[in-house]
Amino acid sequence: MPNTIFTFSDLTAYLAIGAALFGLGTIGFLSRRNLIVMFLSAELMLQGVGLTLVGFGRFHGNWNGQILTIIILTVAACEAALSLALVVQLFNRSKSLDVSIWREIREAGLPVLAELDQDIEPFLAGPGSESYPHLSPSGREPEVSVVASGHRAN
């Protein structure tokens, strides 16, 4: 532990950043529908807690905060392993990572609230992760079935 000074306002800064990470993680968990992103958000919340604990440990001048953070790190690793295994299983069943599919456990008789699909963000064509480089064909172009090419164009 470096022998620098750690004042209360330093602690406040650490706590504030930790609170911000925690809150942003909450928002991510609440609003995102992708299972993986939801778990990433949960990890983000853990990061916020870890930051808080380290700040407190430094402020009090003992190791307890760091040790708790190490424990959290380990538990987060366990959680990641298990949740990713579950995600793979869920994906194998539904071929989708949408958490909205999994809502069978609800009060009987309640209507399923449809996602408001008209609010969907318009698809932005152009450079992005979803556009793939096109190799210019060389030689004779192979026979491509109409269905397959139509699918690709879509």
Binding site: T26, F29, L30, S31, M38, V99, S100, W102, R103, E104, I105, R106, E107, L110, V112, L113
Partner: protein, 660 residues
């Protein structure tokens, strides 16, 4: 040797636990731990018997010590204990051995042996206990084991009902025991209910208390030992496996009531009205059960009624303890208990052997003439029947003779003390007992002849009587119609040997060992000592001739095919019906006790359903309506909605923490 007495209950307990935990791994060998455990307990108890010189007690631990209530976990070894321990463990060993053959292939094999081990633990604990409360604990334990074993085939509705009946009837008796204990505790100044302590304080207790406690204990004994009016459970208890009937419902557990009264003799001595009550109940039970046994067609039920009747004899013996006869009376009752254990276990195991060969058919109308097919069973059963009929020189003769002699002496003693009413009561009981002895011989040999003599007949599904249990198909049973295996006939032969010699070796007129042993019990030294009396030839001759008459009648009616029984049944139709239907006691009990309680239960049920539940439901409607109106929609299955509620809850908690 006596300091090892704690091993006697401990070894079967360990064996039972081992079987319960690891029995399923042993498979067909699951009986070995229990047989070995009980067998070694028998050896230890032999050491206790020969090593006992005077009553001793061992404090194992302080069990409960609250205020003035002291319940030490203490064992005592005295004459009664030293006599009972080898008897219980010896018969239990043989029965366990027999059961290894009898129960082979049963799905509950390990469970059976585990509970048998537990029973032997409880029974030996009951006998060893030196304290009324500890006795009560083990008394309940044997009741629980009995329940478990009667209902062993619990998938059979009749077995489940019989187990329930036995348990409930026994609860009625246990209530008496419990109240008696409370009463005793309130009058013993230091609250210590050890036998030696209680018997040492007799001077300070008044007679009313002692009589009340004695009657309450006798109440308990009537339930456990199947006496009037609480005997109804024992015939139904024959639903259990036959080795269980032999061990628990004939030889050991049902005699616990006799043991309790014998054990409490010092407490009850000197109360004039107690002994005649005990003797009268015993006499009534004996003659009534004998009467029922005359017409039963179920071999095991004949033996069950005979057990009830013989326990009635034991109570007659103990109940003849008036004046100076007290000690002799206890010796007579306990001696009958002792010999009865051997020959009744023998008879039950014999009937089990028959059942085993007949594919679990026990109705005597469906088989007959088995003496060539099952010679060993036949001859050992004959020995048991002769002993039960009380013919000399078999063991039953000596003990029955002592009971009768005690009754006759009680009559004389009452006469001498100027109590003519009691004297005539005892002489009446004496004659009824002699008559019952004849009846005993008759029904025993009726069963013997019907089973082993006459034309050979094996059960077949075409019998008219077979309609109600047609689920037995024994075409592939390797033992059907054959003598039982060695593991079953060996116990029969050993028990037959004991049934012949147990009386001769221990009886008063020959060696007097038994009386000598019983005298060395806690509190017995102060009892009125019997003046020496010779062998009562008149009683012996009367009892024997009564038995011979019964045997002769049975041979006339059942020894060879004849229509005499059916003609008699027609002639004395009401009597026959009364015996066959057991005087309608079960029906009367049902109408008097069971039906009103069921009706009360119905009333309670309706009150519960509409009164209490209605109130509760109407209270529950309030949150229910709030929930359906407001909260239901949050349960929408969307994980993130739940997480959002949790986040808002954290916000709320933070507000409460900071702003209050």
């Amino acid at each position: 040797m006596t300091h090892n007495a704690w091993l006697v209950p401990a070894l079967p307990l360990v064996a039972s636990l081992l079987t319960a935990l690891f029995g399923h791994r042993l498979g067909k060998n699951a009986h070995w731990p229990v047989v070995a455990g009980i067998g070694s307990a028998f050896l230890v108890s032999l050491g206790v018997l020969f090593g006992m010189e005077h009553p001793e007690k061992f404090l194992l631990m302080d069990w409960i010590h609250v205020g003035s209530l002291q319940i030490p976990l203490e064992f005592g070894v005295d004459g009664l204990t030293a006599m009972m321990l080898p008897m219980v463990t010896f018969i239990a060993t043989l029965v366990a051995l027999f059961a290894a053959g009898y129960m082979a292939g049963d799905p509950g094999y390990t469970r059976f042996f585990s509970v048998v081990g537990l029973f032997v633990f409880s029974m030996t604990g009951l006998v060893l206990s030196n304290n009324y409360i500890l006795t009560y604990g083990f008394w309940e334990c044997v009741g629980a084991c009995s329940y478990l074993l009667i209902g062993f085939w619990h998938e059979k509705p009749s077995a489940a009902a019989a187990a329930k009946k036995a348990f409930l009837v026994n609860r009625v008796g246990d209530l008496g025991f419990a109240i008696g204990l409370f009463w005793l505790w309130t009058i013993i100044p230091d609250g210590n209910l050890s036998y030696d302590n209680v018997f040492g304080m007799l001077k300070s207790l008044n007679e009313t208390d002692r009589l009340g406690i004695g009657l309450l204990f006798f109440w308990a004994a009537t339930a456990k030992s199947a006496q009037m009016p609480l005997y109804v459970w024992l015939p139904d208890a024959m639903e259990g496996p036959t080795p269980v009937s032999a061990l628990i419902h004939a030889a050991t557990m049902v005699t616990a009531g006799v043991y309790l009264i014998a054990r409490s003799t010092p407490l009850l001595v000197g109360i004039d009205s107690m002994a005649p009550i005990v003797a009268s109940i015993g006499c009534l039970t004996a003659v009534m059960a004998g009467f029922y046994a005359l017409t039963q067609t179920d071999l095991k039920r004949v033996l069950a009624y005979s057990t009830i009747s013989q326990i009635g004899f034991m109570f007659m013996g103990i109940g003849s303890g008036v004046g100076s006869v007290v000690q002799f009376a206890v010796v007579a009752g306990m001696f009958h208990l002792f010999t009865h254990a051997f020959f009744k276990a023998l008879l039950f195991l014999g009937s089990g052997s028959v059942m085993h060969a007949m594919g679990h058919v026990i109705d005597m109308r469906r088989f007959g003439g088995l003496r060539h097919r099952m010679p060993i069973t036949c001859w050992t059963f004959l020995v048991g029947s002769l002993a039960l009929a009380g013919l000399p020189p078999l063991s039953g003769f000596w003990s029955k003779d002592e009971v009768l002699a005690a009754l006759s002496q009680a009559s004389h003693a009452s006469e001498a003390s100027g109590n003519h009413g009691v004297a005539s009561l005892y002489s009446m009981i004496y004659w009824v007992a002699i008559f019952t002895a004849g009846m005993t011989a008759f029904y025993t040999f009726r069963a013997f002849f019907k089973t082993f003599f006459g034309p050979e007949k094996l059960p077949s599904p075409t019998d008219p009587e077979a309609a109600h249990d047609d689920h037995h198909h024994h075409g592939d049973d390797p033992y059907f119609g054959k003598e039982s295996p060695f593991v079953m006939t060996l116990p029969l032969q050993i028990l037959a040997f004991c049934a012949v010699f147990a009386g001769m070796v221990f009886a008063e007129p020959t060696t007097g060992w038994f009386a000598h042993l019983v005298e060395h019990s806690v509190g017995f030294t102060e009892l009125p000592h019997p003046e020496s009396h010779g062998f009562d030839w008149v009683t012996a001759i009367l009892g024997t001739s009564s038995g011979l008459i019964g045997l002769g009648l049975a041979y006339m009616m059942y020894g060879k095919p004849s229509d005499l029984p059916s003609r008699l049944a027609k002639t004395f139709r009401p009597v026959y019906e009364a015996s066959l239907n057991k005087l309608w006691v079960d029906q009367i009990y049902h109408a008097m006790f069971v039906a009103p309680i069921l009706a009360l239960a119905q009333v309670c049920r309706y009150f519960d359903t509409y009164g209490v539940d209605g109130l509760v439901r109407s209270v529950a409607l309030i949150p229910r309506n709030i929930a359906t109106g407001l909260l239901l929609r949050f349960q929408n299955g969307v994980i993130q909605a739940y997480a959002g509620v949790a986040a808002l809850a954290i916000v709320g908690l933070l507000f409460i923490l900071v702003f209050t």
